[in-house]
C-alpha cells in the first residue's frame, strides 16, 4: 500500500515538475527578453518561442535520422565501414524478401479494405437515423491500442482440436458449418490475412470518420439534382460522391499506406514474424535487439524512410499549395 501511495506521489510530482518546468522555461525567457532594448525584443522573441521546439526536434528527429543513415554503412557493431553490404543483405536475403512481400500485402489489402469499407460505411450510415451510434461502434477500435486489439483477435482466432468445443469465435463458426478448425495464426495459407484483418478492423473507423466528413461537405443540391435527373444511387456513388471527395480519399489512403508500411505492434504481439508473417518493422526490431546487428537494422530503417519520402514530398507540396491560396 505504501508503495502504491509513493507511486501516486511520484506521478503527481512528476506531472507538476514536468509541466511547471516547461511553463517556467518560457516565462523565464520572456523575463530575460524584457531586459533587452525595445528595438531588439521583436527580433529575439520568436527564437525564444520556437527555440525549444527546434532543439528537441533536432535531437530527437534530425540528428538520429542522419546518424542512422551513417550507421547503415557500418558493420554490425558500428566499427568498420562496409559500404553497401547491409543494403545488399536487405535487398537479397530470403528473410527480407518475405518481409517485403508481406508489407506489400499489408499495403494493398489494408488500404483497399480500410478505405473501401470506410467509404461504403460512411455512405450507408449517412442515410440512417442512428448514424452517430453506428459510427461510434465502427470508430471504437481507434481508441484501443494495437496490443489490446491483438489480444482481442488472438481470442477470436483461438484454436482447439476438432473433437472439443471451440472457444475461439471464428473456429466455432467454422465447425458449426461442418468445417475443420484452423490455426489461423500458424497456418501459412491464412496467417497473414488474419493479421491484416486486425489492422483493417482498427483502421476502418479512422477512414470512415474522415470520408464521412468529406461526404457531408458535398452540397445537398448536387445530390438532389442527380436524383431528380433519375440517376440511381449506385451511379450517384460512383459518378458524384467518389469524384467529389477524391482528394479526401487520397489523404486517407496515404495515411493508411504509411501505417501499413510501419506495421509492427500487431505482428510483434501475435506471431513475432514466425511462419512467414515477418514485416519490415518487426525485422528491424529483431536485428536491433535479438541479433544486435546495428548495421542491418539501420539499413532496414533507411529503406522504410526511402519508401516514405515520396509521401513526405507530396505532403510538402500540398502544404505549399495551401499556403499559396491563403
Amino acid at each position: 500500500m505504501s508503495e502504491f501511495l509513493s507511486q501516486v506521489f511520484t506521478t503527481l510530482l512528476a506531472i507538476l515538475l514536468g509541466v511547471g518546468g516547461v511553463v517556467g522555461l518560457f516565462l523565464g525567457m520572456e523575463f530575460l527578453i524584457g531586459f533587452l532594448p525595445q528595438r531588439l525584443q521583436p527580433k529575439v522573441r520568436p527564437w525564444a518561442y520556437i527555440g525549444p521546439t527546434l532543439l528537441i526536434m533536432g535531437i530527437y528527429l534530425v540528428y538520429p535520422t542522419l546518424h542512422t543513415l551513417y550507421l547503415s554503412f557500418l558493420d554490425e557493431r558500428s566499427q568498420q565501414f562496409v559500404g553497401l553490404k547491409n543494403y545488399l543483405w536487405t535487398l537479397t536475403s530470403p528473410e527480407m524478401h518475405i518481409a517485403f512481400r508481406n508489407n506489400l500485402l499489408w499495403i494493398v489489402l489494408m488500404t483497399l479494405f480500410s478505405v473501401g469499407l470506410g467509404l461504403v460505411i460512411a455512405v450507408l450510415v449517412d442515410r440512417v437515423s442512428y448514424e452517430s451510434v453506428a459510427k461510434s461502434v465502427i470508430f471504437l477500435p481507434m481508441a484501443i491500442s494495437f496490443v489490446g486489439a491483438s489480444v482481442i483477435w488472438r481470442f477470436v482466432y483461438a484454436f482447439k482440436p476438432a473433437n472439443v468445443p471451440q472457444i475461439g469465435l471464428l473456429n466455432a463458426i467454422v465447425t458449426a458449418l461442418d468445417g475443420q478448425p484452423l490455426g489461423w495464426l500458424v497456418d501459412t495459407r491464412v496467417n497473414n490475412l488474419a493479421l491484416i484483418a486486425v489492422g483493417i478492423w482498427l483502421q476502418t473507423g479512422f477512414c470512415m470518420v474522415i470520408l464521412s466528413a468529406g461526404i457531408k461537405s458535398i452540397p445537398r443540391e448536387i445530390l438532389e439534382a442527380a436524383r431528380v435527373d433519375g440517376a440511381s444511387e449506385w451511379r450517384i456513388f460512383w459518378q458524384v460522391i467518389v469524384p467529389m471527395i477524391g482528394s479526401t480519399i487520397a489523404v486517407v489512403a496515404t495515411t493508411v499506406i504509411i501505417n501499413a508500411l510501419k506495421a509492427f505492434d500487431i505482428v510483434f504481439v501475435l506471431t513475432n514474424g514466425q511462419r512467414g508473417t515477418e514485416v519490415i518493422a518487426n525485422r528491424m526490431y529483431k536485428e536491433m535487439f535479438s541479433f544486435l546487428n546495428f548495421g542491418r537494422a539501420s539499413a532496414i530503417a533507411v529503406i522504410l524512410l526511402l519508401a516514405i519520402i515520396p509521401i513526405m514530398a507530396a505532403n510538402i507540396r500540398r502544404f505549399q499549395a495551401q499556403e499559396a491560396i491563403r
Binding site: 526536434m57 481507434m142 474522415i210 539501420s298 522504410l304 509521401i311 513526405m312
Partner: protein, 285 residues
Amino acid sequence: MNGIRRILARFPLHLAVIVICLIWLTPTVGLLVSSFRHKDAVFATGWWTVFRIPMDFAQFRLDNYIQVLTAQGMGRAFLNSLTIAIPSTIIPITIAAFAGYAFAWMEFPGRQVLFVIVVGLLVVPLQMTLIPLLRLYNRVGLAGTFLGIWLAHTGYGLPFAVYLLRNFFGGLPKDLFEAAYLDGASPLTAFTRLALPLSVPSLASLGIFQFLWVWNDLLVALIYLGGTEKVAPLTLKLSAMVQSLGQDWHLLTAAAFVSMAVPMLVFFTLQRYFVRGILAGSVKG
C-alpha cells in the same frame, strides 16, 4: 401503405448497417464477457454460451481482475501508464503552442523554411531514430527512466502538434491581434489571453489525440524502457503477458480490458473532440 413500402425498401440498408456494426462490436464483446467468467468456464465453452441464460449473474465474477491488478502487476503498470502519458501530453503541447504561435504571428528569417521542415518531419518513421537515441540514452542514463520517455514522446509528438497549432492560430482573425497591440498588450499577453483561450477546443482535441497515442504506444516504451518492470506501462506489460501466459484467457482478457479502460472512457466522454482532432490532422505518420 406507403409507410410500409418505404420501410421494406429501406430494409436492406438497415440490415447492412446493423450487420456491419455487429461484426465490428463482437470481438470486443467477447473479450469483455470472458474477462468476467470463471477460469474453467472460459476454457470449457465459448463466451457466447453465457447468453443462453443471460440472467444468471452467478456465472460472472471479478476474480480475474483482482488477480491481474495485484498478482500480475497490472495495477502498477496502470499507474506507470498515467505517469508516462500525462506529462508526455502536456509538455509537447505547451512547447508546440509557443512555437505554433511564433510560426503563425511573428516575423523572423527562415520562418517558411523551418515550417516546411516541420511538415517533412511529420512522417519520418520512428525506426530511423531508435538506434542513435537508445545509444545516447544509455550513455547519459536516460534509458529506463520516466524523464527519458517523456522527452522521447515530446520529440515524436512535436511536429504534429506544431503543425496543427500553427494552422489553428493562423486561422484566428488578424484584427484581433492588431487591436490587442493597439491597447498596449505584450506578445505574451496576446498569446496567453487571446490565442490560447480561443483555441481551447483545438488544444483539447490535440491533447486527447496525443494522450491516446502515448497511452497506446508499444514501440517507444519497448525501446527506451526495455524490460524495466518498475516503469513498464500497460501495453508493455500486456504484450509480455501474452508471451508468458499464452492460453490463460481469463487473465489475458481481463488484462486487455484494464489497458483499454481509460481510452474507452476518454472515447465515450470526449468523442467530439477526438473526432475533431482526427479530422484536423490526418497527416501524422
